[in-house]
Amino acid sequence: MDAISFLAAPFVAGLVLAGILAYLGLHVVERGVIFVDLAMAQVAALGATVGILFGLDFHSPATYWWSLGFTLLAAFVVTGTRSKKSHIPQEAFIGIVYIVSAALAILIMSKAPQGSEHLKDMLVGNILTVDWPEVVKTGLLYAVIGLLHWVFRKKLMLISLNPEQAQAERLNLRLWDLFFYISFGFVVTSAVDIAGVFLVFSYLVIPSVCAMLFAEKTSSRLTLGWILGTLVSVVGVAMSYLIDLPTGASIVVTFGVCLLICVAIKRLFFAKD
């Protein structure tokens, strides 16, 4: 087995993740709920630990449904905590969801036959081990979710960018929020299973932050985010192979370097004042 065919599946998985996450990242950054993916990933992990408690294997399909079920529950919770009247920022609730589900997972793990190793694996992940059926399955799922988001793109962008106007137009904010977070939950559950929380967070937040430095319009931000996401995947995977480093961490660091370069370019060439 040569290097190219071995690295092809993880590389394509990176592209699939970049495709959906760079887009969802625009919503997440605009809404100011940066850590919602961490919270949801942690809830997904909690669901998986409950599965393990019932004797299921960590990566079995049945465990996936447990994860998904818990994540959808979290979608309801996150939707319920958005309110413009409240003085409490939504991030506070998201943080609480994260911490409590992490602690619950530790409690459950202490009773399960497999220790906390799984919780660590959930964070770090190993994108190298992804196989083609998994890539195809995830790609199809994300295509369906992407299509739904494209069909309802006006409403979805409006509730993220300008909730006041959305309400003025008599959109049901709660309902569309719920739709957003449920689809987000589907994406995060399978993305974390493939790549781990660190990598998913990078794909979600860094391309959109970079794009927001340079572009105003959603469509150009999205294009730029995709270009950067793809570029970083190529460089990250190549570096990990050439310098012989763990793949997931290489991609995350490459994303960090990418952001630094973007900030430098912005300062040097686009400084307005």
């Binding site: 087995m1 290097a3 071995f6 690295l7 993880p10 294997d57 960590f58 990566h59 530790i106 202490s110 036959p113 497999q114 220790g115 906390s116 190793e117 799984h118 694996d121 770090v124 190993n126 190298l128 081990t129 992804v130 196989d131 995977v237 990990s240 192979y241 012989d244 480093l245 763990p246 793949t247 997931g248 961490a249």
Partner: protein, 300 residues
């Protein structure tokens, strides 16, 4: 009422007498299994890490402190296996008896260690053990030294039962000697079989039974393997026609599973400790189970 009080007092006194037994706590279930075969009903035995847990990482629970606080003797694997959690527990339980001296037994005394690192140690090597590979109990020959250490210490602390312990030691050694012969005969046809393991945990086991560990899936414990290393392992498995990959029960199976799938080797989850699987009920059963599973997969 008076009569009730009398009964209660009588029961309490009686139970405190029966509690004159030596209270022994071991860090792992293996050591507990060996200690129980020597002490039997004459000692009061507890252990901390369950067989299915990674003994490198144990989250402290209040019950551990209670066990340690009342202990007369603490038996540890040593060689820094428990360095991440045991020192804190021992400090927090405020029981001076088990800190050092007679109340603390490092079961590794007198055992020849393998994989002692040479030269300067750095964190870059991942989670390494400066005193050598601490998984020595997985060589049944080392079981003899462990059981000798335990039996000596029990007799020292509880001379009244010394004869009883010595008799059980003899019985243990006799049984182990017989078992060892059977095990080695079973493995004889598979001498020099090449295998892949997840970590270096299996060094002693493989040395004893003549298995050659060609490579590890995660050579630096705790650091995810790199693409070229993973690729290298897959190629080695194919070239050398390696049949099995051995993984400890507490690791995530995703990486080894993917390597097994890509290379055609069989993934075998084997317990490293008594209690790691329900079948491994004592120190002898641990090897019975592991060798049975290995043979099934090597013969195919």
């Amino acid at each position: 009422m008076k009569r009730l009080l009398l009964i209660v007092t009588a029961v309490l006194t009686a139970s405190s007498f029966s509690y004159a037994k030596l209270k022994v706590v071991t860090t792992t279930q293996d050591l507990a299994s060996i200690a129980s075969l020597i002490g039997k009903d004459r000692i009061d035995l507890n252990y901390i890490a369950k067989g299915y847990q990674d003994p490198h990482f144990v989250d402290a629970k209040p019950s551990y402190l209670l066990k340690l606080r009342n202990a007369d003797l603490l038996i540890a694997v040593g060689l820094e296996l428990e360095v991440g959690w045991l020192p804190t527990l021992v400090k927090d339980c405020r029981n001076n008896k088990i800190v050092s001296g007679k109340g603390y037994l490092d079961a590794s005394t007198g055992i020849d260690m393998i994989e002692k690192p040479t030269g300067q140690l750095t964190r870059a090597e991942g989670d390494v053990h400066p005193f050598g590979n601490p998984h020595y109990w997985l060589d049944p020959e080392n079981g003899k030294a462990i059981v000798q250490n335990i039996s000596n210490r029990l007799s020292q602390l509880d001379p009244a039962n010394a004869e009883f312990y010595a008799k059980n030691l003899e019985e243990f050694n006799r049984q182990l000697e017989n078992k060892l012969k059977t095990w080695q005969q079973l493995m004889e046809p598979h001498k020099n079989t090449k295998i892949i393991t997840y970590h270096r945990t299996w060094g002693y086991f493989c040395n004893r039974f003549g298995l050659m560990v060609v490579d590890q899936i995660e050579p630096k414990p705790g650091i995810p393997p790199t693409p070229s290393h993973t690729l290298d392992v897959i190629q080695k498995i194919k070239e050398l026609k390696i049949k099995v990959i051995i993984v400890e029960p507490f690791y995530d199976l995703k990486t080894p599973q993917s390597i097994a799938q890509k290379s055609g080797a069989k993934l075998l989850v084997l317990p490293t400790s008594v209690g790691g699987v329900p079948e491994a009920t004592d120190y002898f059963q641990l090897f019975d189970y592991n060798l049975k599973m290995l043979l099934q997969n090597l013969q195919n």
